[in-house]
Symmetry: D2
Subunit: 347 residues, 4 copies
Amino acid sequence: MLQFQCDYTEGCHPRILEALQHTNMEQTPGYGMDSYCARARERILAECGLVEGDVHFLVGGTQTNTIVIKSILRPHQGVIATEAGHIATHETGSIEATGHKVLTLPTEDGTLCAQRVEALCREHFESPIAEHMVQPGMVYISWPTECGTLYSKAQLQALRRVCDTYGLPLYLDGARMGYGLGSPRCDLTLKDIAELCDVFYLGGTKCGALFGEALVIKKESLKKDFRYYIKQHGALLAKGRLLGIQFDTLFSDGLYYKICAKAVSQALSLREAFLAHGIEMWRDSPTNLQFPILTRAQMDRLTEWGYMFEESHPYGDGRFVTRFCISWATTDEALQSLIRDIGRLGV
Amino acid sequence: MLQFQCDYTEGCHPRILEALQHTNMEQTPGYGMDSYCARARERILAECGLVEGDVHFLVGGTQTNTIVIKSILRPHQGVIATEAGHIATHETGSIEATGHKVLTLPTEDGTLCAQRVEALCREHFESPIAEHMVQPGMVYISWPTECGTLYSKAQLQALRRVCDTYGLPLYLDGARMGYGLGSPRCDLTLKDIAELCDVFYLGGTKCGALFGEALVIKKESLKKDFRYYIKQHGALLAKGRLLGIQFDTLFSDGLYYKICAKAVSQALSLREAFLAHGIEMWRDSPTNLQFPILTRAQMDRLTEWGYMFEESHPYGDGRFVTRFCISWATTDEALQSLIRDIGRLGV
Amino acid sequence: MLQFQCDYTEGCHPRILEALQHTNMEQTPGYGMDSYCARARERILAECGLVEGDVHFLVGGTQTNTIVIKSILRPHQGVIATEAGHIATHETGSIEATGHKVLTLPTEDGTLCAQRVEALCREHFESPIAEHMVQPGMVYISWPTECGTLYSKAQLQALRRVCDTYGLPLYLDGARMGYGLGSPRCDLTLKDIAELCDVFYLGGTKCGALFGEALVIKKESLKKDFRYYIKQHGALLAKGRLLGIQFDTLFSDGLYYKICAKAVSQALSLREAFLAHGIEMWRDSPTNLQFPILTRAQMDRLTEWGYMFEESHPYGDGRFVTRFCISWATTDEALQSLIRDIGRLGV
Amino acid sequence: MLQFQCDYTEGCHPRILEALQHTNMEQTPGYGMDSYCARARERILAECGLVEGDVHFLVGGTQTNTIVIKSILRPHQGVIATEAGHIATHETGSIEATGHKVLTLPTEDGTLCAQRVEALCREHFESPIAEHMVQPGMVYISWPTECGTLYSKAQLQALRRVCDTYGLPLYLDGARMGYGLGSPRCDLTLKDIAELCDVFYLGGTKCGALFGEALVIKKESLKKDFRYYIKQHGALLAKGRLLGIQFDTLFSDGLYYKICAKAVSQALSLREAFLAHGIEMWRDSPTNLQFPILTRAQMDRLTEWGYMFEESHPYGDGRFVTRFCISWATTDEALQSLIRDIGRLGV
């Protein structure tokens, strides 16, 4: 079987395992107070062009989203996101479990539209019965989005302006950030993101680590007591150095960027192969997720030939939107095999 | 420096790293649906003498406690624990954050007294204004306790009887379970624990793993939809196999038992050394945590000589209760060095 | 000024004040354990044709919705409602504040469509990643709806069937129940509602009381410990008899039905007046809420003439959807005055 | 029967019923935006000597406590109270239900000791593992306390100083405030309380109203968006004027003070009667609650003679602590009857 269903089918980049091996019997303080975490923090701040940000290492994405959002909102506030946002769909109501509504807005390609955010805020704050409705308290976006698409710099700047108008912190979920930065169609740098967002994270789990997300809090007022929130949520890893060692490795010699850029390049080859075979793509994704629209027969054939991928949802005309993930771990052999087989996929 | 302040200063047992290395580039499904998790589940059930229990792998102890307790209680219920219980003191109010009160009872040695539980239940359920008070909904104990002490089989049976009388699930936090089972004063087996408790976990983080706790749900009615709770809390590890591989390794060839028993044996030597030097112990702990009562001068000397340990709290007569942890990773050299230096510690 | 903006601009039906006056200095036990509450419970059960239901008296609608929903759902579950449902729009996220998502479905006229509920449940329960999504745990409907419309008996039966298929309790918010039962287009009796729903409430606040809602819990498994939930939410009125006396009065001599039916009759006259003047209605409401679509000029004129009403939202063509409420307290004089003025409203 | 078991066995002061009658068919806007609420707010601020405080009217005490505390605390914070504090004992875990721990301290007479608060804060904020513990976020006191006792001005000033040191808002639960202000042993005025506290409420339910508590928020930073919290909790009374009318009446012509002072005077006579008969009092209460320690025979005799009172808890020597409440509604006849019967109570 060759698995393309998600970007966490393998362990981690070999250099990370080497580093864990190398440091295994060293004694360090717990809870992220060790020197590896310290060094990883410095590296990440430098990459972001930040002098004073706080960096916290967490284990996974849902956990990170939950803690960040809970830490920012007041009890009567909600977080604005798209209807397709991960927090609105596939986190089992984790945000609601902390007491907050996800205020969803429609989306065509996975991105959140600044005008829609503005309209929602205006409607709320100008209402004579505003207090009967959930108050917008922050904005959540994912980059790349769940559809593999990217916000342009202009789009992100537009969101920033609306956030400034209404005093809303802007939070960017970068579970697949490496694959965004590694896309040829990306016009944002990590420094741009750090400049335009108040809080964001650089995903490790899907980008070469065993697990781990590096959260950066730039806005001063959001930093206070953040470690309490982590601990309260049961997310303060006892052996915190495991996260420090991994991010220290990923941000040495540009490893994070290199392995993700290679995966995006592979994904774009895959995309070309589908298109060349006359298969439409659901979204125009320039990153590591590709969404070919397949017939049932095509899906069955690929499965029969040993490929695993995700069946996302019916397209509405008898075909199905599917999802193929390429990751840092995808081998050229696996990719070439799939591309060859697409060539003989039929209809 | 030689660190004795906690039982997570090192990485993991070398055999675990080997297993991670060996399996690193294999492709597996995510979220604990892989064959390593399956095998680890089987091994653990076999060790517990259970045929039908559910086993879930989680990352850490606070996380596990929070999810288990939230999954069991109804909104108006609380969990009974000792005043010293980890959930009552050092988890930043994680239980309250899910909406539930920790109903605390006094303790002398860290164990929860069955009679006190019974009295609290009787008081509650017989009150004419019961509905103005939090209803007892389950019982939490840790084994070994936060004081290093162990419930005897008779004590655990007594708690079981009270739980049965009032219909309360009994949950055992086994963060240091290996060190309990490895104590010469332990009269319980893992099978006994599985028989007497409804839910319990076997700690990995403190007992040889990089991280991870293996939760066993025996009681049928508590099993339903448990994976939803895990996911909602952001605790469903994407690369779940990391947990499966670790527990599979720990429960092969009795590794878990062996490494913990050795640590307990070392801890008891350390205890003897303190006593031989005329230093009193705060609690009579037969496990890997030892609590010598030291003078400020003794503490300063040990620190000066390069030993790190925890200063727990003032004893009340000018001396201080300290905590020394021995773990699976403690070397005989480090231990002998400490024992030698205790011999010249003075007063 | 003549106020038509909501159905709680006056105090209460005079017979209620008389009863309060009459009983004022009697001594009774607190928290709803008095004889007036007991008698009101009996009356309500008799009206519902129930022998074994539990009746609880609460102060307001949002409070009632919050407590009921919290008492039914498990932490990973959500409540299904329409996008227009009061709990989804105008209760400041009170459901989310208790940890639960409102799973919203589109609606054309304010009613929840059984087929849509079924599709949502099927999608959820058949998903391979169900545990990453909020599990449907109950169904919420309002009757009359927020649009003044009514479910027919057939519609309610269809919802009941879907609820049975998926094991979901069906909860009916009857804040304006009197105005539904009093509509000539209503084909449901209170006994039908009691037969088809698991939990429901009869609104007092909008139907003649100073305040108060009478909650009926029919389903056995939902009754347990309900008074704990009321108290925990701070909703157990110390002088609970105030609620008992009010509902005892409302359900003596059919007062509740009579005063509401009269209001509906007045509302339908108002509706005729709007239609006769060529003014369209936003929804075809057969109850006490009427939604004429007015021009800005018409709104300004009515305001100038001393009428207060609610401006709901823009209709999209320059006109506005407005809301006029008739209640048990609306006098014929006020109504005739408004009807006369509609006749000279112009365009 | 003559009921002395609590201070809410009757309806309300007749002048309140008159006012409700008088205003019943007036039309007013909902949700507390009416002129009666406005006038009541002004009267209360004037009594408190405040120019800029916010006044909100709520229905009951548990509700008020829950909303206030939730509005102030951040998720990782708890509220400091005595072990006997109402929020810690008899509100069914309502504070925990909003996610917060009640950090309890021992008490001898029901009052919270400033030194103990300081010690707890010092211990927390100086701990190297502070983030593993709940952070103190505010202080809750009741005045009079649950034991009927009063803080002196000096005690309240001492608490204020500790609160200032640690930046903790001080909240005073004044469910029985009238009975405190009406005590001959009270050395505090309402203006003193307003000066020393950040938030407090004047109880109506137990002091002459049908229901209702008047919450005063003095501290500027705690005012923001408070109506959202009220609405979210389902506590924004639709016919808010009912609260306004009641407090407007209570604070006209000093009615609130007069009726409470009379009750305290009666309570002190009752106290004298018990003492004269050689019956000890559990606490030295100068307010409307009195706690005689009775034998079972004495309790039985009083019950047999038609008196109802609360059996609080065993005193430990075979006798029982009981509670007798005097209220604004207690008649001199009832009191004299009880006093006479105490005289023949025996042992």
